[in-house]
Symmetry: C2
Subunit: 244 residues, 2 copies
């Protein structure tokens, strides 16, 4: 099979998950947590804290999608998880309101994977490329700007007021981009995201991010994720989609 | 008064009107109408046709905002105006479905004003810069991409399902950018747009585009438009906002 043959036919736009797929949330959050903790005189393992914080991510969004609570911005969900985690670690008293706000904003400024900007720039020559994340619109705009990622536009679950993997954000993205769901390719390093995209009628591309969850591993692997195509990173994805 | 003194205090994000303010719709539409008409064997003055088409723009959107008709995309409004205008010019038979679709899409690809990209790039160094137009999200994404304009994000009246100058698109833009209305500066070359923005609580900047309506003039002038500041073009705006 040649690279060109792996491109799903009829794709007109490509939507990229952000946390984990495009940016290295764990390294970014761990560093910022470590720095704020040191300043506050608290002992915290930034990496482990980032993992525990992220573990609360899917359950907190599931409560919104399941109707247990009304729409809440990702920042608000992050703040609730943060408050709970700081108490659980017995360091709540060390982090004042300003420190907690700063920590929530750690998710607004995260380092991109090394291949992200170049891969996007190549893909952008042929497709409309959009960010499609559960992060809020303002968060994503700030993050994409700071990371220098050449997206054509920002999309967010906020525009549908439902979180991925609910079908609404995927279908809202297709509607706003004026393409059929089957003309939109969702790129992610998470099986749950691609399963949601597939259920909504989108095409899917898995990108491996083996270091997403840190040195201990645990990231999703291509062999375990059903998808229309799989790529090693964004430049490999550009190769497979025939983008010079 | 120095240039820096003209910057409204507290502005965190800048939203730009697109048709007329950022891109030269008249030149772009006139050329494309002329080319399609020649191919269809019809005689049409592209510039006059573009003017007549644009004249139907505000009334058609006012019918949506006034509740006379449900939300309709700008493409649909453009198509209705186009069909009516072709009949009125007695050339309806010359333009088949494909030609009419191509003409509607002329509004998706328009040349930027010469100062637009550089001015935006400078402003982007200090502010979040967004496109905020009555054009649909997909239209704007395509137009901004083709014109190479370095916006941080695309916003559209489509996200509020109300057209400017209704307050909803301005307030939706502020909400999505996570700023207060008074922290968002609306830039436009049209008094009606800035009046709408001001009524919604935004700050306003007038940019003169004396050639917007062609060589015959008729463009809005700074002296007639109440605004927090006025600039000659986007580079002058960047100067006034202290963006190197």
């Amino acid at each position: 099979m040649t690279a060109a043959e792996s491109a799903p036919a009829g794709v007109r736009a490509v939507a990229f998950d952000v946390f984990g797929t495009t940016v290295d949330w764990r390294t970014g959050v761990a560093e910022q947590v470590g720095a704020v903790a040191r300043r506050c005189g608290a002992e915290l393992d930034g990496g482990a804290f980032a993992d525990a914080w992220r573990e609360r991510y899917l359950p907190s969004m599931a409560r919104v999608n399941g109707g247990e609570r009304p729409w809440a911005y990702l920042d608000a969900l992050h703040r609730e998880s943060l408050d709970e985690l700081l108490e659980r670690h017995g360091v709540g008293a060390a982090f004042d309101e300003a420190a907690r706000r700063e920590l929530v904003r750690a998710w607004h400024r995260l380092p991109p994977w090394a291949d992200a900007a170049e891969g996007l720039a190549r893909l952008r020559g042929r497709y409309v490329v959009a960010a499609l994340s559960n992060g809020g619109f303002a968060l994503l705009t700030a993050l994409v700007k700071a990371a220098g990622l050449p997206f054509d536009c920002i999309l967010s679950a906020e525009l549908a007021r439902r979180y991925k993997p609910d079908p609404a954000p995927y279908l809202t993205a297709a509607r706003l981009l004026d393409v059929e769901p089957g003309e939109l390719l969702m790129v992610a390093c998470h099986g749950w995201d691609l399963a949601g995209a597939r259920a909504a009628g989108l095409r899917t591309a898995f990108v491996a991010r083996p270091r997403e969850k840190g040195p201990a591993g645990g990231a999703d692997r291509a062999a375990d994720v059903p998808a229309d195509l799989a790529a090693a990173d964004f430049t490999d994805l550009a190769d497979r989609l025939g983008c010079p």
